[in-house]
Each structure stands twice: as structure tokens, then as C-alpha cells.
């Protein structure tokens, strides 16, 4: 598939085309096994969360930084910029409006990157399943690594989820970025179906 067919960037005006990069994401093959394993360990031990509260669940993240839960001891830190983060947390229901920001922020993170969802809504819409405004299945739009259920999940369960995520990373099971690159066309089509005012590039580097 040539990049031209895939990325017309037709949501952008002519002037804007100049300002955005047109390249699609690529599949990046892992390093040789032992190095990759070591790296996976490092990745699992150094989880930088993008501090982007996308939904009501974000309120449950805050206690993690406090002395009671203190996620820092597990190597989990908050980061203010998606460039430096490796974990994206969809904090509960994702509205149509938020989805655009979620997609852009996610795409701006550098791989390997992981997505964690909190609560029921990202899984099936939860109590908002029939809302005109809420995304029902977030994994149609982003490759999800782990979903933590509950409405909302308590901080303890979030921590448990992170522990699970770390295990999965160490096992090399979390390869969302490559998945996204592979199924890019599908994801993009889904996203564009929902987001009507698509005014950003097709892939947000």
C-alpha cells in the first residue's frame, strides 16, 4: 500500500498540508531477542503515564500518586507530554469530542506504547451505551492493551491492572504500536466515521 492512497490528509486545507507530516506509521521489528527482553523489562519498570484525564476515571488515577498508593515505587510516573510517555490511559467514557484528542495524543506517543482503559464505558459504552455522544468500543479506534473494569475501578484495581500490564510487557505481549501500524487503514476508517470534523492529519506524528 502506498502512502499516498492511504494518507490523503484530505481533512486539511492546502495551507495546512504544508505544516503536517504525511508519513504513515510503520511496523518496527523488535531487536534481537535477549536485547528485546531486557528492553521489555526496562519498559515495564519505567511506565510513563500521559497525564491526560480523558474521562471520569481520571479521578481515580490521582490517588495513585499519593502516599497511600504511591505508584512511583512501581516505576510508574506521570508525564506531561505524550512525546515522553509510554502509557495512554483512557480514563472512562470517551465522547466523540474527546476521541479526536485521544487519537492525536496516542499517535504522538513514541513506540512502544501501551493503552490502558478504565471502567466499563470504553469496553461497551457502559451506562452511556445509547448516548449519541459516547464511543461504545474504544478498541475499534485504538489498540488496547489492557482494560480495567469497574464503574469506576478503585485505585487498588488500577494498580493491579498496571501490575498485569507490566507482566504482559515483560512477556512481549504488548505491541500495540505495531498493531496500529499494521491495521492502520481500519483504525483510521473507524475513527473518521465517528469524527466528522476531521481537521488533523491522518497520522499525527
Amino acid at each position: 500500500m502506498s502512502s499516498k492512497d492511504l494518507l490523503p490528509n484530505d481533512g486539511l486545507s492546502e495551507i495546512d498540508q504544508e505544516f503536517f507530516c504525511q508519513a504513515p506509521p510503520e511496523y518496527i521489528s523488535p531487536l534481537p531477542k535477549p536485547i528485546e527482553d531486557f528492553m521489555n523489562w526496562a519498559r515495564s519498570e519505567s511506565l510513563f503515564i500521559l497525564a491526560f484525564g480523558t474521562g471520569c476515571g481520571a479521578i481515580e488515577l490521582r490517588p495513585l500518586t499519593t502516599s497511600r498508593f504511591d505508584m512511583y515505587q512501581y516505576g510508574i510516573q506521570m508525564r506531561a507530554t505524550p512525546r515522553q510517555s509510554s502509557v495512554f490511559i483512557v480514563g472512562g467514557y470517551a465522547s466523540v469530542k474527546t476521541l479526536k484528542r485521544i487519537v492525536r495524543s496516542y499517535e504522538q506517543m513514541q513506540g512502544p506504547k501501551f493503552v490502558v482503559t478504565l471502567g466499563s464505558c470504553p469496553i461497551n459504552g457502559g451506562m452511556y451505551w445509547d448516548s449519541y455522544n459516547t464511543i461504545n468500543r474504544i478498541d475499534h479506534y485504538l489498540p488496547i492493551d489492557i482494560s480495567i473494569c469497574g464503574c469506576m475501578p478503585r485505585p487498588e484495581s488500577i494498580l493491579a491492572g498496571f501490575v498485569e500490564l507490566k507482566k504482559m510487557i515483560r512477556a512481549g505481549q504488548c505491541d500495540g504500536a505495531n498493531l496500529y501500524a499494521k491495521n492502520f487503514a481500519w483504525y483510521k476508517a473507524n475513527q473518521k466515521r465517528i469524527i466528522k470534523d476531521w481537521n488533523m492529519p491522518d497520522y499525527n506524528w
Binding site: 495551507i15 495546512d16 507530516c21 508519513a23 518496527i28 507530554t81 479526536k100 492525536r104 492529519p201 506524528w205
Partner: protein, 1036 residues
């Protein structure tokens, strides 16, 4: 026939015969009478010239077959010859100029002829009563001619003139009567011989009356309101004749009678002259009517001539002609030309004078005239004023020097403000008859010719060094219209190359270093000027002139040569600045401060009593302190030191972009050179003095405030300008250290400043050329479009900030070492602060222009033109070499300074060692290079995939940026700093100088208030003037 031309009496005979015949000949037809008129004028001029040329000794002409005192005699000596030549040539050209005016009225022609006769008579006659008659002839002819314009202005002005004239003639006649009563003769020579008889009350009253009358003819302050009205109200051609002709007659008449005046009271005359000069120019400041302004200037100049006359009326011929004659000639040529031009322009208000710029030739003459009046070289006024001031200096007439210099400055301000209006241009068409244009041009040519002669004669054996470059520059300026830009540039560069070769052959040591800075720097920078497809015609000539004058500065041995070059440099740079698009206001500020600087220099040189620069070394210390202060102030102004820096941003910013580079990089070093010169020669006095200490503080303050102000600029060139000011501050401090290390530092910083300021200004010139704005926040992201410009700017700021490994660090290292070695610790701390502040603006510069967000309108911007890139590459290369092998040049500087004081900088290998520390530039460069490469390789190896992205691919809180303008952080970048330190850089200096301007304008207005326009008031002033004179003479 030859005899005809050799007898001055024929001037009168010709004129009178012609004048009487005119009426009759007119019956034959207009052509006939016109021919007669112009024929007579020509013959008069020819007779004057012929008589003057055949003059072997002063000629006494007796009349009526009797020897004086029985009859009236005339004298035609060297002095008379000089003045009559001036007058008669002016009359011929003035008559030509008035052709339009005179062709309709035969009476007017007769009057004009008689006016000339009157003036000639005033000059030549040696009989007191005859002088009275000639004064009356002149006056009445003038009254009549003024009435030619029968409008209310001319009429009321003329009537006031008649009133004043009536009073003058009453005074003169009464004086004559009393003189005759006391001496029994009317022959001036006899009266002078018997002047002891006049030392009683009646005699003194007689003398006072005569002098009052003649002085009033010269329109002294404050009894000169009528004169101003006449200048303003009458036709320009007539005003010109009054200004250059009638005044000449009066001046010479006064000169004749001056021996009568008690020598111990000569100070009164000086005082009158000085007050007239000073106050006229002060009052001229507020003037907006062109002719009245010229009137103020005329009166002022005559005041100056009077002042000179009071000093030199007994001086030998050469000195008399050199000073009084020079000042007079200057006024004569310039004022006639200006009045004539005023008549061509026919606009009262100076704001409407833009129309003049439609005629290039007239504008050139205008400039020449204005510059001549200001006293810039090479025009006659410069030489005369220089000699005059030098003589005053040797007599310790400090007050007079100050008043003259301040008055000159006032004059310069209003004349140049006028020039600005001329340059403003206008849509209106300039109608100019050939008969009016020709005299103006001829006067322009005469001025140029005399100036050329004066260069040759005044500068002595070395003069050709100065003469030929100027000639070359002038030619280059004039051919500017005819040959293509590139060719002119080529000529200029080859000229500079030859000059640099020549200068380097002839100087050594410190001067050689400066010569190389000026000329090599200038040469490389000249390459950049190729980028303009179409330069203004005069640009290259001026550029060459500026660099040549810098070369001359280095060569100069005498104070005159130095000052000459300094002023030429001022002149050339001023014209270069003003050729910028909106540079007029800035250029005015620039030239005002430059002339102020020149005034300080002149005063300093005058008080030093020394003809050579070397002579400065021999001054006793009390005198040396004053001289040093004055000279240093002059140089400091030119360097834009703190407090007198307000010209800096305007001049740098508004000049054309490539010219700014010259001014910042090269021209600012002239002040450094000057400072060095005086520091070297007056080393013994200045070392360890409070003066040097204050100078050091001033330097550091300049650095601090320059940097601070630079940080708050939005205009890229103003930023650079303030930055230059700051950098010059370090140099000032370094020179003030008066230590070996300090001077090496100063040289090092100067050279480094040339390197990085050239880079910055050229880089910025390219940017401005491409994006057409100077506001930094309107640029951004240009690194991708103009990578080389970026690299050059980046190297420049690294060098400027003093970050190793580039050359800047050497400067900082030397500077701090030198400061601390000297014990100037607090200064060193402040310098640290200043260099910290410098980071602010340097970052701002590079970020706002080259980094951040590119603007859509700059989509198609290309790299700067090749011609701008070439010199940048050269400078970058030089900088790299200099950074890597600092010993290569620092040692040379050290040796050059070592001539004057023991070296404290030692070398082993590439390591420089001082008493405080050590520095190995070579090693630093290598270590940094190696580390950099290793780290870079490491980074390259670490990456798996790097995607090149574009400017909007940035983190934007989940959104996307919409416009580059709102995403680019550049405007008011240092708002927090401004909040914290903005109070330090409130425009206090500007406010101060604005205050000075306002005050002088208020004063100007206040004093001008005495000219109520009422003829009676003027008469009253004349009466008071007499009473004052009488009181002064009687009371003493």
C-alpha cells in the same frame, strides 16, 4: 585694453556708465539693455579678477588729481581683492539668477548695478564720508530691489529695513561729523593714525556711533529683527545678495574701522559676534520658514566671522584669509547657493521642501552648502573653524570655544532637519529655469573646487593621501548614475584593496592592527553589497569614502589630519545612514550626536595646544586630564556609550541592511581607535586615575544597559544595535583598564566584534531581504529555508556570548582576567551580569528568526543571496581559525600592545598564561569536538527509526495548532524580565535628550519672541544696542 582690466576704478565707471545708460538703451529694445546689463556685470567681475591678478602690492587709487586726504582715495589691496572678487562674482551670478526678475524692469537692473557698486565702494573706499555714501547707495539700492516684490511681506520687511537704515545712517553721519570734529580729516588712514585724539568722550562717542552703525549693518543680536524680516520677506535672489553682498561690504567696512576701536575693548566686539552666532543659531532651531531660517543662519555666520575678525584683524594676511576669509567664504558660497535654491523651490515652510529632491543636481548643491555651513570637511568652513578654534584653544578661550561649538551644533540641527524634509520628496513638479539653475550649480562647483584646493593646501605634504581617495570617492559618486551597480562595487572594492595595501605599507604595530580591522573587514563586507540589484548612485562612493577615512585615521599623525578623517567619516556615514528608507529621523539623531562628538574632539584638540597626536603626550597632567576627558567624550559618543547611546538604535536599524553591517562592525571601531590613541599618548596621566576608573564604570554600565535594552527589542536591527552598544561597553572598560591585558582584551574584543557583528548583520540582511520585515515575531522557522544564514547567526551568537570553544571565550577570559588583575572586582561582577543578559537577546534573535514556527507567507523564501553568503562564509572561516589557533593572532595583539607597556601574557604552546589563570584554546576546541562527535555517533547508533516531521507535528494538548503566528513565541518574549528589571531600562537617556531638545526649543522660541515684527521695536533695540556699546566703552 589690458589696462582697463587692471584698474579697479573701472568697476565703478563701468557700472555707473551702464546704469545711467540703461534707461536710454532700453529705448532701443529690451535685448540691448539686457546685454548692456549683463555685459557690465561681466566686465565688473573681469576687471576685479584682472586687477587682482595684476596686483603686486596694495594699490592706492587717488581721484580728482589730488592726493588723499585732499581728495577721496580708494584702496585695492589683497584683502580688498579677495572680498571684491567674491562680491562681483556673486553679483554676476546673482544677476543671472535674477534674470526673470530683472528682465521686466530696467529700473531694477540699474538698482542692481548700483547695489554692486555700493558694495564695492564700501570695500575699497578709504574715506569715511565716502564710506557713508556707499553705505547709503547699497542700502537704497537694496530698499528699491526689495520693493520689486510688491507684496505685503516684502513691503513691510523693506520698510523695516529703511527704518533701521535711517537710524544707521543717522548714527554713522553723526559719528563721521564728530570724528571730523576731533581729527579734522575724513581720510580713514589719517584718522587711524590720529586715533589717540579720539580717546576723549567725544571721540569715543564718535567711534561708538560709527561702530554701532557698521555693526548694526551686520545684524548683531538682538538688534537684527529687521534683517531677519528682510531675509524672509524679500525675493530669494535679493536676500542672497543681502546675505553675501551687503554683509560683505559691512564686514569689510567694519574691518577698516576696527583699528579705531580701543584694543582693550575688542572683547566687546568678540562678545557681540559670539552672542550673535550663538543666539541666532539657537533661535534658528524653532524656525520653520526656509528663508527666515537661512536668515538666522546668515546672521549667525556673520556673527562668527565678526568674532574671528575681532581676533584676527591685525593678523598677517595668510592667517587672516585662512580664518576670517575661510569662514566668510564658506558662508558666502553656501548661503548664496541656499538662498538661490530657496528661490527655485518657492516654498516657505521647510516641510514642503521635498520638491527639491526632484532635481538631483540642486540637491547635491544643497547638501554641499548645508555641510559647508555645518563645518564639515573638506569645505572651507571646516579649515577656518579648525584654525580658529585651535587659536582660541591656545589662548585658553574655553568659553568662546564652547559657545561656538554649541552654536554650530544648533545650526547643524536645524539645517539637517531641513535636509530631511528635502529628502522626503514630493509629488509636485519642480519648475526651474535654467537661468536660476546655472548660478547655483556654478556655486556648487566653486565650493567643490575651493574645497579641493583647501585639502591640498591645508593638509600639507601628506595631503595627497587624503586628496586622492576623496577625489576617487567623489568621482565614484558622480559616475554612479551612469555605470551599473556591480561595476561600481567592483571599483569600490578595488579602491579599498589598493588603499588597504597602501595603508598597511605605511603603518605598524597597533595602527596596523586597526588598519587591518578597518580595511580588511571593510573589504570582506563590501562583497556583501553586491547582493543589491540596484544600489543608490552615491552608495559606493560614500562607502569607499567612509573606509578611506578610516584608513586615513590610522595614517594620521597630526590632530588636523585625525580630525579631518574623523569628520569625513562622520559625513560619509551620515549620508550612508540617511540613504536608508525611513532613516531620516534616525540619521538626524545620528549626525547630531556625531557632530557633538566632533565638537568635543575639536575642543579637546584645541585645549591640548598640540598640532600632532604625539604632542598629546607632552601635556602637563592638569591639562591632560581636561583634554583626555573632552576627547574621550567625543569618542564615547561615537561608540554609543551609556547616556549618549540614543542615536545607536536608529542609525543602525534604519540604515540599509548591508550598510548597517559596516556601521556596526567597522565604523564603531573608529571610536575604539580614537580611545586607544589618546590612551596611548596620555598613558602616564591617565593610568590609575579617577578618570580611567570612571571610564571603566561607564563601559561596564554601557555593557549592562546595552544588553538589557537589546533584550527588549522587537526590531531585529535595533536588537543588534543595542547589542553593539553593549559589546562596545566591554571595549571601553577594557581600554580604561590601562593595562597590557586590558588593551589586548580591547583589541581582541574589537576584532571579535567585527567577526560576529558582520556575521549577524549580514545574516539578518539576508533574512530581511527575503522576508521584508524587521519585526522578529513576524519571522520564524527560517532555518529550513536559510540554513547557512542560520549557521552564521548561530556561530555569531556563540562567539558573542563567549561560550567556548569559539573566539568569544578568549575575549571573556581576557576581560575577566584583566579586570580582576586590575582589582576592578565589582565591575567584573557586573560584566558577568551583562554577559548573562546578553544570552537573553541572543537566544531571542536566533529563536525568533530561524527557529520556532515558519509562517505560511514565507513558504517560498530562499536562502540569502550568494553575495551575502560569501562574506559570511569567509568570516566563519576566520572565526574557526581564530578559535582553534588563538595564539596566531592574540600573540600579535599582545606584541602590539607590548610596545606601550610590559606584556603580562605568556605563551607556552597554545596555552596562554596570565598571573591569574591559563587557557588553551586549541585544546578546548579539540576536546569539545571529540566529545561532540562521540556523542553524536552514539545518538545516531541508538535510534532505530527517526521520522522527519513538520512544524505542526507538535504536542498541543491533544489539539493541533492552527496558525503559526499564534504558535510562535516571540513577541514580548521576556515579559517576566521586563516585569522585574524593566524599570532599569526606562528610556531615561531618551527622556533626558528629549528634554534637552525641548528646552532648547523653548529657549529658541523665547528668544525669538523679541522679534515682534514691529519696526519700532527693532529700532528700539538698535538704540539700546548703541547705548549698551556706549556704556561698555564708556564704563571701562
Amino acid at each position: 585694453m589690458v589696462a582697463y582690466f587692471q584698474n579697479p576704478l573701472n568697476i565703478y565707471i563701468t557700472a555707473m556708465a551702464a546704469a545711467f545708460l540703461l534707461g536710454l538703451v532700453h529705448k532701443l529694445g529690451k535685448m540691448a539693455s539686457l546685454t548692456l546689463f549683463y555685459g557690465a556685470l561681466t566686465m565688473m567681475a573681469a576687471v576685479t579678477l584682472g586687477s587682482a591678478l595684476s596686483l603686486s602690492q596694495p594699490l592706492i587709487i587717488q581721484t580728482a588729481g589730488f592726493i588723499a586726504p585732499l581728495s577721496i582715495n580708494l584702496q585695492f589691496g589683497y584683502y580688498e581683492a579677495f572680498f571684491t572678487i567674491c562680491v562681483n562674482i556673486a553679483a554676476l551670478l546673482g544677476g543671472l539668477y535674477l534674470y526673470d526678475y530683472l528682465k521686466d524692469s530696467v529700473l531694477a537692473r540699474a538698482l542692481f548695478l548700483m547695489l554692486v557698486v555700493g558694495i564695492n565702494g564700501m570695500i575699497m573706499t578709504r574715506d569715511l564720508f565716502n564710506l557713508f555714501i556707499f553705505i547709503e547707495i547699497t542700502s537704497i539700492a537694496t530698499y528699491g530691489l526689495i520693493g520689486l516684490d510688491r507684496n505685503i511681506k516684502a513691503l513691510s520687511a523693506g520698510f523695516k529695513y529703511i527704518l533701521a537704515g535711517g537710524m544707521i545712517s543717522a548714527f554713522f553721519l553723526l559719528g563721521t561729523a564728530l570724528t571730523y570734529y576731533k581729527t579734522g580729516t575724513l581720510n580713514i588712514d589719517q584718522i587711524i593714525a590720529m586715533k589717540d585724539v579720539l580717546q576723549d568722550p567725544i571721540g569715543l562717542t564718535a567711534i561708538t556711533l560709527l561702530l554701532t552703525a557698521l555693526l548694526i549693518e551686520l545684524k548683531p543680536f538682538p538688534a537684527n529683527g529687521w534683517g531677519l524680516d528682510v531675509y524672509q520677506g524679500s525675493n530669494a535672489g535679493i536676500a542672497a545678495m543681502i546675505s553675501v553682498g551687503v554683509s560683505t561690504g559691512a564686514l569689510f567696512a567694519l574691518y577698516k574701522l576696527l583699528p579705531l576701536f580701543p584694543a582693550q575693548h575688542m572683547g566687546i566686539i568678540s562678545g557681540i559676534g559670539l552672542a550673535t552666532f550663538f543666539f541666532s543659531n539657537l533661535m534658528g532651531l524653532k524656525q520653520t520658514d526656509a528663508k527666515r531660517m537661512l536668515g538666522y543662519s546668515s546672521i549667525g555666520q556673520m556673527g562668527l566671522v565678526l568674532l574671528a575678525l575681532s581676533f584676527f584683524h591685525t593678523a598677517p594676511l595668510t592667517m587672516f584669509l585662512g580664518i576670517v576669509g575661510g569662514l566668510f567664504l564658506n558662508h558666502f558660497l553656501a548661503k548664496a547657493a541656499l538662498f538661490w535654491i530657496a528661490g527655485i523651490v518657492k516654498k516657505d515652510h521647510i516641510k514642503e521642501w521635498g520638491i527639491l529632491s526632484q532635481s538631483k543636481m540642486l540637491t547635491v548643491v544643497f547638501i554641499i552648502a548645508v555641510f559647508a555651513l555645518i563645518g564639515l570637511p573638506p569645505f572651507p568652513g571646516f579649515w577656518a573653524k579648525w584654525q580658529f578654534i585651535m587659536v582660541l584653544g591656545s589662548g585658553n578661550h574655553t568659553f568662546i570655544i564652547a559657545a561656538i561649538l554649541i552654536g554650530s551644533l544648533f545650526e547643524a540641527v536645524y539645517l539637517l532637519r531641513w535636509f530631511n524634509y528635502v529628502l522626503a520628496g514630493s509629488e509636485e513638479k519642480l519648475a526651474c529655469e535654467k537661468s536660476k539653475r546655472v548660478p547655483v550649480l556654478i556655486f556648487g562647483l566653486i565650493t567643490a573646487f575651493i574645497s579641493a584646493l583647501l585639502i591640498k593646501s591645508s593638509l600639507g605634504p601628506q595631503s595627497s593621501i587624503y586628496f586622492f581617495p576623496i577625489a576617487f570617492a567623489v568621482i565614484l559618486m558622480f559616475v554612479g548614475n551612469f555605470i551599473p551597480t556591480k561595476l561600481r562595487a567592483l571599483f569600490a572594492i578595488s579602491g579599498i584593496s589598493y588603499l588597504s595595501y597602501y595603508v598597511q605599507m605605511n603603518v605598524s604595530g597597533l595602527n596596523l592592527i586597526f588598519a587591518q580591522m578597518f580595511l580588511w573587514g571593510g573589504m570582506i563586507l563590501s562583497i556583501a553589497t553586491f547582493y543589491k540589484t540596484k544600489a543608490k548612485p552615491a552608495t559606493y562612493g560614500l562607502l569607499f569614502l567612509m573606509l578611506a577615512s578610516l584608513g586615513g585615521l590610522v595614517l594620521s599623525r597630526t590632530t588636523l589630519e585625525f580630525f579631518f578623517c574623523w569628520e569625513i567619516m562622520t559625513l560619509a556615514s551620515y549620508l550612508l545612514v540617511i540613504s536608508g528608507k525611513n532613516a531620516k529621523k534616525a540619521a538626524l539623531t545620528y549626525i547630531t550626536f556625531s557632530l557633538g562628538s566632533a565638537a568635543f574632539l575639536m575642543a579637546g584638540f584645541a585645549l591640548s595646544n598640540s598640532l600632532t597626536l604625539m604632542g598629546l603626550a607632552a601635556l602637563p597632567s592638569s591639562q591632560a586630564t581636561i583634554v583626555f576627558t573632552l576627547l574621550a567624550l567625543g569618542f564615547l559618543i561615537k561608540m554609543g556609550a551609556f547616556g549618549v547611546h540614543i542615536w545607536v538604535p536608529g542609525a543602525y536599524a534604519e540604515a540599509e541592511d548591508d550598510i548597517s553591517a559596516f556601521i556596526a562592525a567597522i565604523l564603531s571601531k573608529a571610536g575604539v581607535f580614537g580611545l586607544f590613541v589618546i590612551a596611548i599618548y596620555m598613558q602616564s596621566t591617565i593610568s590609575n586615575s579617577t578618570l580611567a576608573y570612571s571610564l571603566g564604570w561607564l563601559g561596564i554600565l554601557t555593557a549592562t544597559f546595552g544588553a538589557l535594552m537589546a533584550a527588549f527589542q522587537e526590531d531585529i536591527k535595533k536588537l543588534l544595535a543595542y547589542s553593539s552598544m553593549g559589546q562596545m561597553g566591554y571595549v571601553i572598560a577594557a581600554v580604561a583598564l590601562m593595562s597590557h591585558l586590558g588593551w589586548v582584551t580591547a583589541l581582541y574584543l574589537s576584532i571579535n566584534h567585527i567577526l560576529y557583528k558582520s556575521l549577524l548583520f549580514l545574516s539578518v540582511a539576508g533574512v530581511i531581504y527575503r522576508v521584508n520585515t524587521r519585526e522578529m515575531y513576524k519571522m520564524g522557522g527560517l532555518i529550513k529555508k536559510m540554513p547557512i544564514s542560520f549557521i552564521s547567526a548561530m556561530m555569531a551568537i556563540i562567539a558573542m556570548s563567549g561560550v567556548p570553544p569559539l573566539t568569544g571565550f578568549g575575549g571573556k577570559w581576557l576581560m575577566y582576567t584583566a579586570l580582576i588583575e586590575k582589582g576592578w572586582h565589582l565591575q567584573a561582577a557586573l560584566a558577568f551580569f551583562a554577559s548573562g543578559i546578553a544570552f537573553l537577546y541572543m537566544y531571542r534573535l536566533v529563536h525568533s528568526i530561524f527557529l520556532g514556527q515558519a509562517k505560511p507567507e514565507h513558504k517560498d523564501v530562499k536562502e540569502a543571496p550568494l553575495w551575502l553568503i560569501i562574506p559570511q562564509v569567509i568570516f566563519m572561516g576566520l572565526m574557526m581559525v581564530g578559535s582553534t589557533l588563538p595564539r596566531l593572532w592574540v600573540e600579535k595583539l599582545s606584541v602590539a600592545v607590548g610596545e606601550f607597556m610590559p606584556s603580562t601574557l605568556t605563551w607556552s604552546g597554545q596555552t596562554a598564561t596570565t598571573s591569574l589563570g591559563y587557557w588553551n584554546g586549541f585544546m578546548v576546541m579539540n576536546i569539545v569536538g571529540v566529545i561532540f562527535v562521540i556523542v553524536l555517533i552514539f545518538l545516531l547508533l541508538t535510534f532505530q527509526k527517526v521520522q522527519k516531521v513538520k512544524q505542526f507535528n507538535i504536542v498541543f494538548a491533544g489539539e493541533r495548532p492552527f496558525t503559526p503566528e499564534t504558535t510562535h513565541v516571540a513577541y514580548n518574549m521576556y515579559a517576566p524580565v521586563q516585569k522585574a528589571l524593566g524599570g532599569w531600562v526606562k528610556p531615561r537617556a531618551t527622556a533626558f535628550w528629549d528634554g534637552v531638545t525641548e528646552w532648547s526649543h523653548t529657549l529658541s522660541h523665547m528668544f525669538a519672541g523679541i522679534y515682534t515684527g514691529n519696526g519700532q521695536t527693532y529700532l528700539f533695540f538698535i538704540l539700546l544696542f548703541f547705548l549698551m556699546l556706549n556704556f561698555l566703552i564708556g564704563a571701562n
